[in-house]
């Protein structure tokens, strides 16, 4: 999910340089929990660059929300403590602080076109190690998994070849190594 909220402006303070952070938020999967998280971001004027959510422990009704956000260091600290004080939140982890975490996104990219462009598209798909998951005489659907930048590049290339439709998951992330949340 991609959403942009307007950058917070304060007339009294020079903006500190912005940083991008990936946060993992482990929550009790009760009704409205996602609304609480999103409402927190929109209500307080924080940015959401990407947000993914899914139940990760069905028996315990625990979900994991991965949020990519940008803000000055003090704002990032605020975001984390604001998230942590939501009642159904178990834990908030800043994956960016813990060293390079693994981040992946999945996109389904539909290319509509005929003729030479189709051959080029398949060649590029191969170069990107992308799976072709659907094909007709006038279209392909590619499945690509990777870093956000990689996916952006692939989509840009496809867009040069024909009409493109895209569905993306947003970023899923996990820390490296033996330590867990």
């Amino acid at each position: 999910m991609l959403m942009k909220v307007e950058e917070k402006k304060s007339p009294m303070r020079a903006p500190d340089p912005s940083e991008k952070h990936t946060l993992s938020v482990v929550v009790d999967n009760e009704p409205g929990v996602l609304a609480r998280v999103i409402g927190l971001f929109s209500g307080r004027g924080y940015n959401i660059d990407s947000l993914t959510v899914s139940e990760t422990q069905h028996d315990k009704h625990v979900s994991r929300i991965t949020i990519v956000t940008t803000g000055a260091p003090m704002v990032i600290e605020q975001i984390k403590s604001q998230l942590a004080r939501l009642v159904p939140v178990h834990r908030v982890a800043d994956l960016t602080v813990g060293g390079a975490a693994i981040e992946r996104e999945l996109a389904l990219v539909k290319l509509i076109g005929r003729g030479e462009a189709r051959v080029e598209a398949l060649r590029l798909a191969q170069a990107f190690a992308v799976k072709t998951v659907d094909a007709t005489l006038e279209s392909f659907v590619f499945e690509i998994t990777g870093l956000t930048d990689e996916i952006d590049r692939f989509i840009d290339l496809m867009a040069a070849l024909g009409k493109v439709e895209v569905s993306r998951t947003g970023i899923a992330a996990i820390a490296r190594g033996a330590e867990g949340l």
């Binding site: 009790d28 605020q78 942590a84 009642v87 159904p88």
Partner: protein, 588 residues
Amino acid sequence: MTREMTGAEMVVQALADHGVDTLFGYPGGAVLPIYDEIFQQEKVRHILVRHEQGAGHAAEGYARSTGKPGVCLVTSGPGATNIVTPLTDALMDSIPMVVITGQVATHLIGNDAFQECDTVGITRPCTKHNWLVKRIEDLPRILHEAFYVATSGRPGPVVVDIPKDIQFTRGVYTGPKNVVHKTYRPKVKGDLSAIHAAVELMAHAKRPVFYTGGGVINSGPAASQLLRELVRLTGFPITSTLMGLGAFPASDRQWLGMLGMHGTYEANLAMHDCDVMICVGARFDDRITGRLDAFSPNSKKIHIDIDPSSINKTVKVDVPIVGDVAHVLEDMVRLWRSEAHVADRKAQERWWSEIDGWRAKKSLAYQRRRDVIMPQYAVERLYALTRDKDVYVTTEVGQHQMWAAQFFKFEEPNRWMTSGGLGTMGYGLPAAIGVQLAHPGSLVVDIAGDASVLMTMQEMSTAAQYDLPIKIFILNNQYMGMVRQWQQLLHGNRLSHSYTEALPDFVKLADAYGCHGIRCEKPDELDDAIGEMISVKRPVLFDCRVANLANCFPMIPSGKGHNEMLLGEEVTDEDLADAIDDAGKMLV
């Protein structure tokens, strides 16, 4: 205890189990089963208000003056939307409150049913947490969690939305014993090494100041006692926010008065010039800091707060201590004593003599008049004539609120109830009702403004019904004085819609409500009139006619630093007109 009963019975049982003696509410279709249960029991007393907003503020007054949660019961739809203002107010001021709302039956939710609204959606951003109960099995747990969440950690309001069919359904009720919340467990003990670092900083301070706030009141009476102990041990000066008044006695020599936008000269300059600031349960609100880059530029800052999100929000601090005020202060006092700390006496003496110089400015001074009552004078007299009584004070919002904060001196916590964060006009009258119910024998005064008091005036009828002798002391300047003052400062004195052309006759209004009305217009008649107000054992509307155009000083104009205060005695019309620059005009 485990017993089978209906959802409606569970609600009343849970209230009783949580020690609720008073419930503020207003009936309607979606809560009728609960009202039927209330009718058939005597454990919980129900107070019928005249508007759900009144129920909410009454519950806040009850809560703030007792330390217990305030509890309300309202119906679905308009009942729920009418209580949104008190919920927001309680969230801003950290007041524990449990609100039970009725909802349309579960199978009707989402159909735009009669008096349906998305209560949990509407109240999500103005509660600490809320629940929609969809199964009778969940109801007892949710009710107990609601009390736990409202009262632990940083207190706040919660909503439990109960559909009507759930109120009728039978289920098994279990009592509140051993309710452990799955995720919410706030930390109360402060980190000892951080407390050590704080005590170390304090011991070497040359220009220290305590900056205390509502968190001391939230933490309970023990916190106020420990604060007094620590302040006296160290000999440091102390100031407080609007929300923290009473935690430290105002008659004490170490007390500098309130700080902030309308705080004293000495409090604000001590904050600006200090080298060590000890913030105890306050949240660096914009009314306190003024211009952020000019806020106490040379100090090391210690911050005790139970809510990590209050720390480093707008002001970066050097020693954060997450924990409950009473717990942390206990450790601080112990460490200060055991390590035989004495503050640097020489430096302290210099610091105090500087402070005494600022005090000599007498920043609260105002011109007395013989012909008209000055509003400051009215509060001074009210204070003088009630100081030996068991008195609680609530306020509305505006100039009168600030004069009350400046001129009424509080010696004890939980005696002062005001809407600080949200600034809700109409808070004080119903809050006084809540306070009076909790403290039947005490004197409860709402220091009110003529405009504010009209917002919840109908609650006089509640006061009359329950024989609550609350005193509504209106500083009637016929203006929305605070708005008028800002228009004078910011908008060329164009008084756009800040004059109330058609105020009611408050004395006749009192009569209409079956209450007692008093009017006073002359300074030399004021004492007798206040005497009458105190002696009447009925609700009183006191129309105190005061100077119409008085301004509230001192004042730090928006966008200015603590060292750029406007002082009442010195300020000229020109200063007023130029006080706020273009950047400041954007701020409120």
